[in-house]
Symmetry: C2
Subunit: 199 residues, 2 copies
């Protein structure tokens, strides 16, 4: 299909699609100079770009980096590491290296991007006067380890391409789901006044 | 202490503190026209502003709204609701009202801000071609309900002021902790190649 049909199919305005093409996010199959055709995979691609820059609130540069990881077709583990590095906001504070991950017994390489992210997050919690120690960290780690394991489970049934897409996109796109659910479950617990239940 | 001493104590530059005062985020006790004094509570306040605008990545307007909720001294439940409303990004897409929370059996008022946030997040997951259904949602809800309950536990031992601060600030400032831990635990599981363990 032509780019104008792609616009109709996806409900994304033509100028936006042309912008994606100019920015290298979307690339059709060239049939003649200045002529490209698109297929179903491009419909998916356009939806994906919308999800990344919309609800996942990524900048265009972050979305491009994530799409590049997807296109590279490296293995899911490497892809996930690179995606995490892409999405981790560069911190203003280069001195926060408190080694929380190691202290809490989480077995990851020292230079894994989220190591620094956890240190910065823990520093902010403490700066705000909120409690942070190993006991409190354990409250988070136990259920999140369960959640992380459940999230990785489907990987074993996927082929390589699917696994890379799930690892890269899932890292970003289930985050808003998690944050919204946590807020809802707080509200439910507080409004209901129930005793904590672990379903 | 004078504002210059507050700058020394907090390691925040004097112009930044004056900016906070102008913006209404920080207010000393007025002793004479154009003269205000500060005490230990203001040291905490400055750290708090730094945490909100730093690691919690809030805009100045969001930080101000959160501080207003804190200053109001309403009850923790109302405070948490208002804080969540403040922090929920206005969505570009006003048509996403899929009623996920109700469908998933989460008992909260329809107009609770995170209800719309969950609908938008679920829509983005689906737009990216990632799986979303009740079974997958349950993978998230079970551990997050456990986490939410553990987070609310300390509230019962706090006085009202502490409880409001914990509810409002905790909602925002433990979010980056959760996201960083999830990424670390993914990496640990994938790198370690262990079978999922729920500690």
């Amino acid at each position: 299909m032509r780019i104008s049909e792609l616009a109709e199919r996806t409900n994304v305005p033509l100028p936006t699609l042309k912008f994606y093409v100019r920015e290298g996010l979307l690339r059709g199959r060239t049939t003649a100079p200045n002529q490209a055709v698109y297929d179903e995979r491009h419909v998916d691609r356009v939806r994906l770009i919308g999800a990344l820059t919309g609800a996942a609130a990524m900048s265009l540069a972050q979305a491009r980096a994530v799409l590049e990881v997807l296109d590279d077709g490296v293995d899911p583990v490497a892809a996930m590491g690179r995606a995490v590095a892409t999405m981790t906001p560069a911190t203003d504070d280069p001195v926060t290296h408190s080694g929380e991950a190691r202290r809490l017994g989480i077995q990851v390489p020292e230079d894994y991007p989220a190591v620094q992210q956890l240190d910065a997050a823990a520093a902010a919690v403490q700066a705000a006067g909120l409690p942070w120690n190993e006991e409190i960290a354990a409250r988070y780690i136990a259920p999140l380890r369960q959640l992380a394991a459940a999230e990785l489970m489907p990987l074993s049934d996927m082929d390589r391409g699917e696994a890379v897409a799930y690892a890269v996109l899932g890292t970003a796109l289930y985050e808003p789901v998690i944050l919204a659910l946590r807020r809802l479950l707080h509200a439910e617990l507080v409004i209901g006044g129930d005793a904590p239940t672990a379903t």
